[in-house]
Structures are given as C-alpha cells and as structure tokens.
C-alpha cells in the first residue's frame, strides 16, 4: 500500500509544475458552461417553471457539476499512456515489477487529477454562484458526497483502462474512447436522466452515465437519503463489475503481448 501512496505523492508533486496548463484549460470549461447557460435560459420561457421537476437553476447547476467532473478528471494517462505502453511493448517492463499495472495507473491518474479537480471545483462553484446563484444545498451532505464522487472517479478510471486495454486486440483503441466520451459528454452531461423518454430511463440506469455523471450531480442539486443509498449501491455493484472485467481483459491481453527486443 505504501508504494502506491508514494506513486501518488510523486505524481502529485510533479503535477504542481503544470498549474498554468490547468488554468489555460479553464477557457473550454467556461465556454461550455456559457453555451448551456444561454441554451437553458432560452429553454425556460418562464424562469420559475419546471422541466421534469427541475428548476432552471437546478438544471444549469447540473450541467456545471457534470462538466466539472468531465474537465476535472479528463486525463491523457488513462487514454494515451496505456495504449502507447501496449503498442510499444513497454508494458512488458511492468510485468516483473512488484506492483499491479492497473492499480499503478489508477493511482498515477489520481495523482494527476487531484490538483486539476480541486481547481475545477473552485471554478465551478465560482461560475455557478456568479451566473446562476446559490442552490438549496446542505453543507452536512458533503461527507456523503465524497465517497460518491470518489467512486465515480474510480469507476471512470477503470472503464478508461478497460477501453485502453482493447489495444491488446485492436491496434488503436482511440475510436472506442471517442464513443465513451460522447456517451458521457452528450448523453450524460447535458441533462438529467429524467428528461429522456420514459422507456429509456431504466436502461440508462445500467450505463456508466448513472454512476459516473448523473449520480454525483443529482445528489448535489437534489439530495435525499433514498437516492444517496440507491446511487451508492449502484456504484459499488458497478465497481465490482468493472474490476472483474478489467482483470479478465488484462490477464487475457498480456498473454497476447508480443514484444520485439530493442
């Protein structure tokens, strides 16, 4: 466990050098929020009306939170590094190391996104308060939101690693990442599941959208103990499922690995 903590610490310290890159990336986040702010302002003719039970400020805060998760946790390590390690064969060097490659990547990812996420969290709160105003939020809920957000990040990282490990089978896993991106970004960040047609809603609850985006964001804008336990339970089950899938793909994939000596 200590070795993983050290990997986390080293990566975190290393990331402190790239704070200016994080700040320059704020532009895209602010642009997306600005677009949806305008769009939802247009969609709500009457600011006091409700769409599927959501007020205008709840809807915009939902987008702010989902976009914050998207921008704050997006990391090239999960997308490019694993694919490059597999394609170049350098993943072979990790096979005889005293750590699990998958856990190493997850810990490294957390080291890389910690500062970035905290910056986006501050920016998201600032943007929300300035452009939308405060929403009904009980500060004591923060303790319950922390595990939900952490599980969301871990599940997302595991799914990314699974997709990247498809490089064991196809040369380029990037197209599969695009599809996952769009599922999360288009279907998951723009509006809550309640806005989808009734017949689609139960299906969407089995997709990563529910545990990665919708769950944490919904709890921020409309918290209830009932939805907290439902979302937490879904996340735990999803995590078990992705861990089993990840270990299966990794074990099978490593056997297919061909390394050319250099």
């Amino acid at each position: 466990m200590k070795k993983y903590l050290n990997i986390y610490k080293v990566t975190l310290i290393n990331e402190l050098q790239y704070i200016s890159d994080i700040i320059l990336g704020f532009l895209s986040f602010v642009v997306m929020i600005f677009i949806f702010l305008n769009l939802w302002n247009y969609m709500y003719d009457d600011p006091s009306s409700l769409i599927e039970g959501f007020s205008k400020s709840q809807m915009i805060w939902y987008v702010i939170i989902t976009e914050m998760i998207w921008f704050g946790t997006r990391n090239k390590t999960l997308i490019n590094q694993i694919t490059d390690d597999i394609k170049s064969g350098s993943i072979a060097y990790t096979l005889n190391k005293p750590y699990s490659y998958a856990i190493y990547v997850i810990v490294k990812n957390f080291g890389e996104i910690t500062i970035k996420f905290l910056f986006y969290l501050i920016l998201a709160i600032a943007v929300g308060l300035i452009f939308v105003g405060p929403i009904d939020f009980n500060m004591s809920n923060i303790l319950m939101l922390i595990p939900v957000f952490l599980l969301s990040f871990i599940i997302n990282a595991c799914i990314r690693i699974i997709i990247s490990m498809l490089s064991f089978y196809v040369e380029d896993a990037a197209p599969f990442h695009w599809l996952y991106d769009k599922i999360i970004l288009v279907i998951g960040t723009v509006f809550p599941i309640e806005l989808f047609p009734k017949f689609l809603q139960p299906i969407l609850k089995f997709t990563p959208i529910y545990v990665v985006n919708y769950g944490p964001s919904k709890l921020v804008i409309d918290f209830s103990m009932n939805s907290f336990f439902t979302i937490l339970m879904a996340q735990i089950l999803y995590l078990i499922f992705v861990i089993i899938l990840l270990s299966l793909i990794y074990r099978k994939g490593v056997k297919k690995l061909n390394v050319n000596g250099d």
Binding site: S20, L24, M32, I35, L39, E171, A174, K182, I183, V186
Partner: protein, 264 residues
C-alpha cells in the same frame, strides 16, 4: 501567381494522397477510425431530439436547421483536418524547433507543414456531413453551396489556427492557447447563434470567426444572398493572407532544435 497557386495545390493534394496511402496500410484501424467518428457525431442527434421534444424552435432554428448546422460544422472540420491535418502539431513543431526539414523543401513551408499529416477520422466527419446534407434536402444548389462552404470554412479554421500557432515563435504555451481556441470554435458552431446575445456575437465575427465558417453559410444555403456569399469568399481570402503574413513574420524568429531527423 496563379500557376504558383496551382502548383502548390497540386503538391498539397499529392501530400494528402500519400498520407492516406500510409494510413491505409492498416485497413482495420483505418475503417474503425472512420466508422466510429460517424457514430461519434451521430450521438449528438440524441441531444437535439431531447431539446426539440421540449421546444419546437430553439434560437430561431428548427430541427432541420440543426441538421444543416451539424452538416456544415462536421464538413468544415473534415476539410481542415484532411488537408491541413498537421495544424494541431504546428505550435509544438515551432516550439521544439522541428520544422527544419520543411524549410529545405522547394515548396511553400506553411503548406508543406500543414499538409504533411491527414487525420483519418476526418474522413468520417466528411461522410457524416454529406449524409446530413442529404437528409436536409438534396438538390444541386445545396450540394454545390455546401461543398464550397465546407472548403471555405475549413480554410478559415486552419487559418485562425495558424495565426494563434504562430504565437509559438514568441511565447510558450501557444499550443494550449491554439487548442483552446479551436475547440472553443468547434463547441460554439454546433449550437444555434440565436441563443447567444450581446458581445459574444461580436466574437463570432472576429477572433472566433464561426460566423463566417458556419452561421452565414447556413443562412445562404437556406436562402441565397449574393452579398453574404461575397462576404464569405472575401473574408476567407483575407484570413488566409493574414495567416501567411503572420506565420512568415514569425518564421524569421525561428530557431532550430538541431534535431537530426528524416521525414519518410
């Protein structure tokens, strides 16, 4: 002058042809990139179906107009990254001093760099754009105008990216600035301009010129207007000239990274 432009265009097309031939060596990856890009773009339809289930008219656009907007956006992006695919690498090449091999070629340096790479997935964008224009309404006028406007739009996006990339001759972080500007343009131009108000509309016709690459072309395809048509053509020529001027001015400050490499 015209002969020179013709020669450079021929050279650019040859570059694209060889780029594609190189990418096609792995046919499965080549096809996967194209097919998944089409599916990737199609996912946005879901978003708009839901928005239009809430309201029939969004920012003056009906659902058919959104189809046309998406056709133009994906088409312009496709032209930009098929013919000028190395645009995303330009700031890094300048910063790392890696454009030596282009400087010694007896061809235009900027065109040589930009056309040295083709993004295969952009072919998926191009196919998607034409599929959408067929859905929007197929007739000779629409096809000709659409083809012309995705070319002018692609050139406008590439030129703006060159202008911002040229900052790399003077400052670091130009790569982050350029990618932020191009992704911002891409994010805006898939939403109706009618939902935006005030100062942001000025940006659409200045530093984020998606007004010229997407919005005016959309209105021309819907209802032809010769003045707007000439404005789009004139603006495209102007922005190309500015991009060349700024790039070559910056090039005087270029210093090599002294990296020995061969372009194969």
């Amino acid at each position: 002058m015209l002969m020179e432009i013709k020669k450079e265009l021929k050279f650019m097309l040859l570059n694209v042809k060889y780029n594609l031939a190189r990418e096609m060596t792995n046919k499965i990856t080549f096809l996967t990139n194209i097919i998944f890009m089409i599916l990737n773009n199609a996912s946005f339809i879901v978003e708009w179906i839901i928005f239009y289930s809430l309201k029939n008219n969004i920012g003056g656009y009906n659902f058919k107009d959104i189809i046309l907007l998406w056709a133009i956006a994906s088409g312009t992006y496709a032209i930009c990254y098929i013919f000028f695919g190395a645009i995303q690498d330009l700031p890094k090449l300048i910063m790392d001093g890696k454009i030596d091999s282009f400087l010694v070629q007896p061809k235009n340096v900027l065109i040589s760099i930009l056309s040295s790479k083709t993004k295969v997935s952009a072919l998926g964008d191009l196919i998607y754009g034409y599929v959408l224009i067929f859905i929007y309404g197929i007739n000779i006028k629409n096809i000709i105008l659409f083809t012309l406007f995705i070319i002018t739009g692609g050139i406008v996006i590439a030129s703006i990216a060159v202008i911002f990339s040229s900052l790399a001759f003077y400052i670091t972080k130009a790569d982050t600035i350029t990618s932020s500007i191009t992704s911002t343009m891409l994010n805006f131009d898939t939403y109706p301009d009618g939902i935006f108000k005030g100062i942001i509309k000025i940006l659409f016709y200045t530093i984020l010129p998606i007004g010229f690459s997407s919005y005016i072309p959309l209105h021309i395809i819907k209802s032809f207007n010769i003045v707007n048509f000439l404005i789009v053509i004139g603006y495209t020529i102007l922005v190309v000239l500015i991009a060349f001027y700024i790039f070559y001015r910056g090039l005087k400050r270029y210093s090599s990274g002294n990296l020995m490499s061969a372009r194969i």
